[in-house]
Every structure is written in C-alpha cells, then in structure tokens.
Amino acid sequence: MIAQVAPAAAQAAAPVSYVPLWVIGGYMAILIGLGLASMRSFRGTSKDYFTASNTVGPILLLLSVFGTTMTAFAMVGSTAKSFEQGIGTYTLMASSSGIVHSLVFFLVGIRLWAIGKRHGHVTQVQYFRDRFESRGLGNLLFPILVLLVIPYVLTGFIGAGTFVQGATRGMFPTAFAETSGAVPPWLTILVVMFVVLFYIFQGGVRGAIWANAFQTIMFLVAGLAAVYMIQRSLGGLSAASAAVLEKSPGHLVREGKIGHGEFLSYMLVPLSVGMFPHLFQNWLTAKDAKSFRTVLVFHPIFILVVWLPCVLIGVWAVGQGLKPSTSNATLGMMMTKYVSDPVVRGLVQAGTIAAIMSMDSQIMALGTMFTEDVVVHLRGKGKVSDKEQVWWSRAFILVIMALSYFLAMYPPPNVFDLGVWCFSGFAGLFPLVVAAIYWKRTTTAGAFASVLAMLSVWGVLFWRGLVAPALAGTPVEEPLVLGVMPVVWVVLAAGVALVVVSLATRPPSDTTIRKYFA
C-alpha cells in the first residue's frame, strides 16, 4: 500500500526501494503484538499496571533500564553532535555516563527500590512527601518533574521525525513534495504516538518494559550493523577515518572544540538518572536488589556498543562532505546513502527507531505520577478504584501527548542540546534525593530551598542558553557559564541551599527518621 502512494513516474525517475518501510512497519507490528501479549499478563490491579507487581528479573531489568535511558538522544543526538563537534561527543556523555549511571544506580537506585518495597511508594513524590512530612513539597515537585520529562519525550518525537525524514527522502515526491519526497515529521510522530500509546495502554509498565527490552536488543544490533555496512561502503574502517583526517582533522580531536572545564563539568550531567521519574518506576519493578547487579556491570558496556558506532558514523559523515538539512538528519542520511541492501537498511533503521521510541517509560511514568500524586492524593487512598486509576493515568498521558505533539512542531535545531538541558534540570534535583536517603539532618525547609534554588538557576540559564537564542533566531552556542556547563551552577545552587537551610532549620520528627533510617 505504501508503494502505491508513490507515482510510477517518480519511481522511474529515481529508483527507490520501499522495502525498508515495510521492515519498519513489521517492527511496529511486533510492538503492537507485545502490547497485546502484555495485556494478557495484566493482573487487573493498579499495582500491576504501575509496578508490574515487582516481578522483573535481572536481564529484563537491564534491558528495560538501558532502553529507557538511551533514547533519540543516544542514537540521533550523538550522531548529530559528532557531526558538528567530532569525537569529543563520546567523551562528554558516553564514557562519563558509563561510570556515573552505574554509580547512581548503586547509591540511589537500590536504596529507593528498598524504600519503595518496604513502604509501598510508587512515585518519587510519594516518597518525598512522606520523608519530609510535607504535602507542599510534593505539590512543588510534581509540576517540575512533569515539565522536565516533557522535553525528554520531545527529543524522542523530534528524533523520530527527523530520522525518518532523512531516511525516506525521495520516496514520495508527489505526496510530500514540501519535504523533498520524505515522510514529514508530523506523520511519523503521529504513527509513533499511536504505537507507543497502544502498548502502554494495554499492558501498563509491563508493556513498556517488554517493548523496551525488545527495542534495546534491536538498537544494540542496529548500531553494530550500521557501522559495519557504512564502513564497507566507504572502503573500510581506515578509509572512512582517513577521509576525516584529510578533510577535517579537528573532528578527530578535542583541541579547539571542547575546553577542559566543559569536559569536566559534563561529568555532572549523568547524575540526572537519580531523579528520572521513569527510572524510579523501573527500579520499583525489580524482583530483588540482586537484579541490579547485571545493570551495574553491563550498562557501561551497552553504552559503548550503542554510542561508539553512532559517533563514528557522525564523524565519517564529515569526511564524506554530507550536507544534511539539520544535523539531526545525519544518521538517517548516512544509512540511506551507504547501506545499500534494502532489507538490512530497513532493519538498521527499525533499530534506530527502536531507540527513539524507548521514551515509552517516560510517558508511562507521567501517567503514574498524575494518578498517584494528584488523583489518589486528593481523593484519598482507597477511594479510587484500580480501574479508575488506570483510566486517569491514560487520560493524563493523552493530554501530555497532545501537548508534546504540538511542541514537536517547533523543534530546536539539535536534540542533543535539548536533552542536555533536560538532564541538567534533573541533575539539579540530585542533591535532594541523596540527602533524603543518606542525611538524617536534611529538613523540609532545606528540601524546599534546594528545589527552588535548582528551579531558579536552571530556569534563568535555560532561558538565556536555549530559549532566547531560539526566539531571536540566532545560533544556539554551547551555553558555558564561566567556562563550565550550566549543570555545575544548578547542582551547586541546589546543594548549597539544601545544606545551609537544613542546618538552620528543624529536622523531621523522630518517627520519620526511624521509619527511613532504622
């Protein structure tokens, strides 16, 4: 049916294979199948819908946590950034995440899993409300977490739209003349939204976890297959890199592109995983603490498997003189141009879309938070039936999806930059979660001060660094402040406010301290 849409005349002028689109369609059909299968395992309770009844073992936990951490930011964003900035992209985010993510999983993830298991918390807001004996803190945190997750979801939508646009260029010259015959982003995003909503509505968090696991396997294989096929087309690994050395040697080093202050400060960005609502929800699905062991060990290695091919492809694109409409389209164009076998190209492209679509857990987390932190909180525990909770969750997800779809129509030039801003905000909440877990002396006022300090500093820097240049139509530069990334000032402000105000105010009651520390 897809092939019929393209006029025969256009096909004759420029022979285009539609096989990759069929392969991608097959991949989407498998996701829908997984949604149906997860629905059969659904036990009908809200606990099962939101935490999969704590049944997830080590392998599934690894695949789902990794899948939900690596989104469009990892595949599309890393290739785009490498195309612009060179190999330093890997050193900024991938290798640092390898050690910092696992460290956070160990220091925060396992503890929050234990706390959630013992006290029955389903969301972060529930935990912070109870830990600091404050409904107000939860009311403050809820909108902040939602607002920070939305850009993360947006990176997925924008990444999917631009990737498919780059990959389908010339396929539909009549139907989509305004995008040079490529499937336009608005259509791709609509299809992605429909598929994601289908499987998370059917199976809840279990549906998201199963899909994430499948997507992780897909994009791990896709990255390796893509780099293998592309280097073969470019005359081998050495020839591909030699072309870069000749055309733009600066892309193979960091001198002149990344300062040492910027490099070191990037190390704080991955702290964000400690406050991702979707990771909190993923952690709670674990069967036991030992399930985290596999995650700790293999997470850095999986990052290597995904990021190294993408960074190489981005850099090689420079050597080939690629001219994408936006850097986000680099990966899609490289595949279209240098992966000749249409079936393999389709599989590789489906794998890339798999990474992009793994923002399903973020969407699921938003629905869970609204249900637990707003609906159940306001109406009282036990007064909202399991069925109602599931429907409230779905309704909120639909609202957020509609909003995200609207925002995705006005994309920033680079999903990598948007992702880093989003992560910097979450990283600013890291002092709060660490203090809540490890420092008995943390007070409610200290927690409020920390969140407000984070919000103020991040808000000002975000406006200055991304929003204002975008509105003015000027290029978005690396938003360094005194030579370091904004995340440094955000984390510093949040940490200092928390410590100073906590030391000056009254700690929570002994009952609460015993509850969480005894």
Partner: protein
C-alpha cells in the same frame, strides 16, 4: 537503613581514581588513528567504558550491600 555497605569501603578509593582517569588531558590534541581507524581519544574512552564494566563487576563482588535487601524485606514495625 544503615547508610553504608559493611565491607569493601576501600573500593570507593578505586572508584574515585577511576573517575579521575576519565580526564585524558594528554590525548586532547592527539589525532593518531589506533589500528588505522580509531582516533586516540575515542579509543581511550571506549576502553574506559569497558573498564567501567569491569570496575562495577569487581565492586559488586567485594562490596555488595546485602543489608539493603534484608532491610527492604522486613516489615516497617519489625525490630532490627
């Protein structure tokens, strides 16, 4: 919940040293291609990622906090 793992605290020194090694300032302007295709800076950080996996493997063997799981399994009102 006790805030620290009961053994292997020295492993944190290893983690700190490893974290410092992330800063490969000596490779900043090195455009050498390892094995003829892998830029030195990228090759170093690829090895670093593998090293991180190995580090965490060692860590969980020597300093796994068993007490966290025990704490999670106890009902809130149970004495220690």
């Amino acid at each position: 919940m006790s805030s620290r793992a009961p053994r292997g605290r020295w492993m944190w020194i290893v983690v700190a040293v490893f974290a410092f090694l992330h800063w490969d300032f000596w490779l900043w302007d090195d455009a050498t291609l390892w094995f003829g295709f892998l830029p030195a800076g990228l090759g170093y950080h690829a090895l670093y990622s593998l090293g991180a996996g190995l580090l965490w493997f060692t860590f969980i063997r020597l300093a796994w906090p068993d007490h966290v799981e025990e704490w999670a399994s106890r009902k809130p009102e149970e004495p220690q």
